[in-house]
């Protein structure tokens, strides 16, 4: 998937992949992260 120039919402999970980690990956691929957040489901 090409993320260059795309707007990305990064929804992470504490015990999986956290939002900030998803955002960092997306940004490194050239995406514009418009929202990043991490949830805890327990």
């Amino acid at each position: 998937m090409k993320l260059q120039g795309k707007k990305v919402i990064a929804l992470g999970e504490r015990d999986g992949v956290q939002g900030s980690a998803i955002a960092a990956c997306a940004q490194s691929a050239g995406a514009d992260v418009v929202l990043e957040t991490t949830y805890c489901f327990v």
Partner: protein, 491 residues
């Protein structure tokens, strides 16, 4: 100058469960949903379990020490269909029925905010009169109760009290608000705090009595729960620790609360060990009361699957850390794992800080740790709601790190998870579910020699409070006691 450090040990640990189906409606998720749609209360009521079902529920039995958590792996699922008979008391604590717990709530009520119906008071008194941890003075605190009409009137006043029900819908009392305008002293907040106190008191009394520890010899208590005790000027001001100490006869103690979301207990254990090691205190108790708000948190998933609502128990823990007795498991304060600010948010970074680095400091391999006790939430609670198998996720990351370090092969990952992990068995009670539920089994195994090392590792979701985007984590290694009491350190 020569300074002698004490070697801190886990002197004992006990747990407490209260089966409170009547309080499920006051869990955060159910109460918000019921406020929007009152018919949800009926759907919830139709899916609440009876006490006997909660007693025989295998994860609860693992929590209380009847069975080892590993036993669950061989049991057919769903576990809630198990018909194996259970008993109230396990090796690590008891599960109390709601009728009695409401009585304990009243006994722990220092401001006459719990009003129980007069007839129910006598039923509770009779039921609690044979409890081994309650005294005549405790039973006197139940009082004589109130007419039902007074309770109904209180629940409809300008500062409404919160009605208290049994599973069958019977109104048995109410929780009063303590101030007309202070939302920190509203009835629902006070109920949350008082259940936390009462459950922690019962865990602590169990520990002191069964381990034959003198309450008067306990100088300090750390409370690691997540409740916010306080008023409008100091929301979350705290010190439930001292309130628990007061109710447990610890007349020579004071204490303080240690907050860290779900990793509060591991932080508190570290501090308890440090206080003992430095000889500031001869022993320190760590307590954690229940999380009322988490009752019924995943109820929607349970209703969708037409299964019982399994988040119907309140859970608490009490631990005493003392100086080396030659037999109890040692706390390795020289091998703490910390998820630092600079560590980053990836799972790899978190587990490197919590697992790899402490093991490296001691020259140990991943397989030198018999069991990793991490987030131990019962998957039968979380999976129907789409929240996954949390312990398994964590164990796979630990095993993956071991494989990356070539300590095991990728093909050995499943076996590593099965051997060094365990099925989740803890109620989703916040901090109570993180690492510490295994502590009873850890102490047993490290004492009898079936295990040499156990690592406790917990994570806290700090981002939920909106003050930082970060999470936190802390780990602590426990080791079988090879005798010897102290370590000399020259400065």
């Amino acid at each position: 100058m020569t300074q002698t450090l004490e070697q801190p040990v886990i002197r004992g640990v006990r747990f407490f469960l209260a089966h409170t189906p009547g309080l499920v409606r006051y869990g955060s998720k159910p109460s918000r949903d019921i406020a929007r749609d009152a018919t949800i209360a009926d759907a919830i009521a139709a899916h609440l379990r009876g006490y006997e079902a909660a007693v025989s529920y295998p994860p609860n039995r693992a929590f209380l020490g009847h069975i080892h958590p590993d036993t669950l792996a061989a049991m057919p699922q769903p576990w809630f269909t198990s018909v194996a008979p259970g008993t109230r008391w396990g090796g690590h604590g008891e599960i109390m029925p709601e009728e009695e717990f409401y009585g304990v709530l009243k006994i722990c009520d220092a401001f006459d905010l719990v009003h129980l119906e007069a007839g129910f008071v006598e039923e509770a008194r009779a039921a609690l009169s044979t409890h081994p941890l309650l005294t005549t003075a405790d039973l006197e605190r139940l009082g004589t109760g109130f007419p039902e009409a007074d309770i109904v009137r209180s629940c409809g006043g300008s500062t409404p009290a919160l009605p208290l029900y049994l599973r069958n819908g019977r109104l048995i009392g109410c929780m009063q608000a303590a101030h007309e305008e202070d939302t920190s002293l509203a009835a629902d907040v006070l109920l949350e705090n008082l259940t936390c106190k009462a459950s922690a008191v019962m865990a602590m009394r169990t520990l002191l009595a069964q381990e034959q520890l003198d309450p008067l010899a306990l100088p300090y208590v750390l409370n690691s729960g997540e409740e916010a005790v306080g008023d409008r000027y100091q929301r979350g001001g705290g010190n439930l620790a001292k309130a628990v100490a007061e109710m447990c006869g610890c007349q020579a103690a004071t204490g303080v609360d240690i907050k860290g979301f779900c990793c509060g207990p591991v932080h508190a254990l570290t501090m308890a060990g440090s206080l003992v090691s430095s000889r500031v205190f001869s022993q320190v108790a760590v307590v954690g009361g229940c999380a009322l708000a988490k009752l019924g948190m995943k109820y929607r998933g349970h209703l969708q699957h037409n299964q019982p609502i399994l988040e119907d128990v309140l859970a608490a823990v009490a631990i005493v850390v003392s100086a080396d007795d030659g037999v109890s498991p040692r706390l390795r304060l020289d091998a703490l794992g910390r998820h630092t600010v600079a560590a980053g948010a990836s799972q790899k970074a978190i587990f490197e800080h919590l697992v790899s680095q402490p093991l490296e400091r001691l020259g140990l391999h991943f397989t030198d740790v018999d069991k990793y006790a991490t987030e131990l939430h019962n998957p039968e609670v979380t999976e129907p709601a789409g929240s996954g198998n949390v312990p398994q996720l964590n164990y796979r990351v630990i095993a993956g790190l071991a494989a990356m370090r070539k300590e095991i092969t990728p093909a050995q990952v499943p076996a590593f998870v099965a051997t060094h992990g365990m099925p989740g068995f803890a109620p989703t009670q916040g901090h109570i579910a993180s690492a510490v539920p295994f502590l009873g089994h850890a102490v047993d195994g490290l004492r009898d020699g079936s295990m040499q090392r156990v690592m406790l590792l917990a994570k806290g979701s700090l981002f939920l409070g909106r003050m930082t985007q970060m999470a936190d984590g802390m780990s602590l290694l426990l080791e079988r006691n090879a005798a010897g009491s102290s370590e000399e350190r020259k400065q």
